[in-house]
Amino acid sequence: MSIISKVVTWARMKSPWIIHFNTGACNACDIEIIAALTPRYDIERFGVVLKGTPRHADVLVCSGPVTRQIESRLKRIYEQMAEPKFVIAVGTCACSGGVFNGCYNIMGGIDKVIPVSMYIPGCPASPKAIMDGAVKLLASLEEKEK
């Protein structure tokens, strides 16, 4: 499985600590993010660790279309992270607002509020897609470092 070997390489170089934040999503993507951490997909064996606080995180994994109520909190979490920091938008809502695009209480996607490094579409995004996206993000950073 080439995805797995890429993740192993990546994890050896860098163990990203991630923080997961739901900006008003229906929870489907959030469950798939957490499912990526459980036995079948088990991203933790690759050193990807779910952290509770922004100050220790390298990667902010966001779901949801960003409701007005949560917007300032999202900004604040991003501000509290130290550089270098990356944002992954998980799910079609996080990418563009998804089916909720045009709804009155929606900003319309993560990049309307903070800069996004990687977009992982899907409704919801599957655990495999999430892992694939995370790997691609870190591979691109590997490239930059060269």
Partner: protein, 155 residues
């Protein structure tokens, strides 16, 4: 539909409601149109005497120059009794039913935020579901309220 028909006749007789104001749309569903002045006593009768002991929710409606409110009450046997009345938009004052159903609290707050209802007797508390920054005179579920306006104003 014997149970539903007998509830209909009972309400008609007890509260002098016209027959065309009570519809049995199918098994286990009654829809009743009331005058605002009659609402509370019918509501209490439905709860205490007819044993519609579960308030499922309260739905608000924008009806041009009026606001209407429908209270969905369920019985253990599955029958849902829907009581509706309307008030003028100029003076959309209704009374809180939290003294009978504490759970009505969150449904009434929704009517305040989304329709501009004024609920007398509703305790102090957080608004729901809109943010504190959302202007108090903007009610998104009114038919003439447009999301595009809101986005421009926020920008």
């Amino acid at each position: 539909m014997k149970a539903e028909e007998s509830i209909k006749l009972d309400l008609m007789k007890k509260f002098a409601i016209a027959e065309d104001k009570i519809r049995v749309t199918r098994a286990r569903r009654l829809f009743v149109e009331l005058a605002h002045a009659d609402f509370e006593k019918v509501f209490v009768y439905a709860k205490d005497t007819l044993k519609f002991g579960h308030l499922v929710s309260i739905t608000g409606f924008d009806e041009a120059d009026k606001l209407a409110f429908m209270y969905h009450m369920a019985h253990d046997n599955g029958v849902v009794l829907n009581l509706r009345f309307s008030v003028s938009k100029e003076s959309p004052v209704i009374h809180s039913m939290t003294k009978y159903f504490p759970g009505a609290d969150i449904y009434e707050r929704e009517l305040v935020d989304l329709f501009g209802a004024k609920v007398e007797g509703l305790a102090e508390g957080n608004r729901y579901p809109l943010t504190d920054e959302w202007p108090r005179n903007e009610h998104p579920l009114l038919k003439d309220w447009k999301p595009a306006d809101k986005k421009e104003r926020a920008a």
